[in-house]
Symmetry: C2
Subunit: 207 residues, 2 copies
DNA sequence: GTCTATAAGACGATAGAC
DNA sequence: GTCTATCGTCTTATAGAC
C-alpha cells in the first residue's frame, strides 16, 4: 500500500524507510537503486512495490515525515516571552535536533531538487513555516529594541545556515560533546543579533 | 585527451565543462547522463570521450578547477594587518565570489560524495586550506584580544556556513543588490566575533 | 575530432506463481 | 506479502568508419 505522508506504515515499510534514509544520506537519491534498498532490507526488488508505488514516494515519505517531525518538535518547545530567551530556545532546539538526526536533516536539504513538483512544493511550505518562526522571533526582538539587526530575512537565513552547518563537521565522539556545542552556538547566535556575552575565556583584562 | 586539473583544455573541452557545470548544478551529478551533457554541447556521446576519459573526470575537473580558482583569488586579496580588517576582507571576498559563481560553489559542496577516493581527498585538501585561512585570522584576532571567540574551529566553520548560505536564497535581480548583501554580511560576521556595529537603523533611542 | 553503432549491463517498474 | 522472471529503456563506455 502506498504510504501517504504522516500515516503509520507497516513494519516492513518502516524498515524500507530506515534503510533508504541511510543509503540516500550516504550516496544520494539518484545514485541509489531500488535493488540496493531492497538488498539492505533483505528483500527482492519486487517486494518494495508492495509498500511504495515508486522510488520517488520513498524519498517523499522521508522528507515529508522529517519536516513534520521537526515542526511538531518545534511546536512542543517552551518559548519564553522575551525575544532573547526565545532565540536561545530556538537555537538549542535546532542544534540538538540537527545533531540527533543528521541523516534526515541532510536529505531534507540535499535532495530537494530530486523531488517532483508537487512533493517539492509541499516540503518547501513546511520549510518556510520553520523559517517563519525564526523571522518572527527576530522581528519581535528588533521591535522591542533588544536585537541589533540590519535585515531580518537575511539574518534569519544566515542564522539557520550557521546552525545547520553543524552537520558538516560534527561527528559523534569528537572533541566536543553535544551540549558543549549547544552552548557555543547559543553564544554565536546571540552575538549575531548583538547580544554576545563577553566570551573571552579569561577576564583579567578588566584589571 | 584526459584533462588533468589545471591544464588549459581545448575549446570543446571547455564547452563540455560549462554545460556539465550547469546540468550538475541543476539536477545533480548522478542524475545527469553523458548523453544529456553531449546534447547540451551539440555533440554525440562518443565525442565526449575524446576530451574526458570518464564522466567522473568531468566532475573532478570542475571541482578541482573551482577550488584552485577560489584559492588563487583568495591569495590575490589584499589582507590588512589588523584582524578586524582581515576578517572584513575575507568576508567581502567570500560573499562576492559565492554570488558570482553560485554553480561552481554549489557543486563543490553538493557533489563531494560523488567523487572517488583520490579526487575526493585532493579536493578536500584544498577546502581545508581555505578554512585554515579563516581560522588563522580568527586566532590572530583572539590573540590580539580584539575578537571574542569561545572556540576558534567551531566559529570558523560557523562563519563559513553562514556566508556560504547566501547561495541558498540569493537570486540575481532580487530585493537586495550584491553590494548591499556584502555590507549586511560584513556586519553579521563581525558581530559573530563581538565587533558588531550598532546596527539598528534608527539611533534616536540615545536621546 | 566527430560520427554511428553497439557492447554489456543496470535502471525503475510490473506480472504472475506461491 | 514475497518471490522469480521479465519488459522496455537507459546507462557508461568502446570500436571503427570517415
Amino acid at each position: 500500500m502506498a504510504r501517504t505522508a504522516g500515516s503509520i506504515g507497516t513494519e516492513t515499510a518502516k524498515r524500507v524507510l530506515k534503510e533508504a534514509l541511510s543509503l540516500f544520506a550516504h550516496h544520494g537519491y539518484a545514485a541509489v537503486s531500488t535493488r540496493q534498498i531492497a538488498k539492505a532490507c533483505g528483500l527482492q526488488v519486487g517486494a518494495l512495490y508492495n509498500h511504495f508505488p515508486t522510488k520517488q514516494s520513498i524519498l517523499h515519505g522521508l522528507m515529508s515525515a522529517h519536516m513534520q517531525d521537526l515542526l511538531e518538535a518545534l511546536a512542543g518547545s517552551n518559548f519564553s516571552n522575551d525575544p532573547a530567551g526565545a532565540l536561545e530556545v530556538f537555537t538549542r532546539f535546532h542544534i540538538r535536533y540537527h545533531i540527533d538526526k543528521p541523516e534526515e536533516v541532510f536529505i531534507a536539504y540535499m535532495e530537494l531538487r530530486n523531488l517532483e513538483p508537487e512533493p517539492y512544493s509541499e516540503v518547501m511550505k513546511l520549510r518556510q513555516q520553520y523559517e517563519r518562526t525564526l523571522r518572527g522571533i527576530l522581528r519581535d526582538g528588533q521591535a522591542a529594541g533588544v536585537f541589533k539587526i540590519d535585515d531580518v530575512p537575511v539574518t534569519a537565513m544566515s542564522i539557520i545556515s550557521m546552525m545547520t552547518g553543524v552537520n558538516t563537521w560534527y561527528r559523534y565522539g569528537g572533541r566536543l560533546s553535544a551540549s558543549e556545542i549547544e552552548e557555543i552556538y547559543v553564544n554565536l547566535v546571540l552575538s549575531v543579533v548583538g547580544l554576545g556575552k563577553t566570551a573571552t575565556p579569561k577576564l583579567e583584562e578588566i584589571a
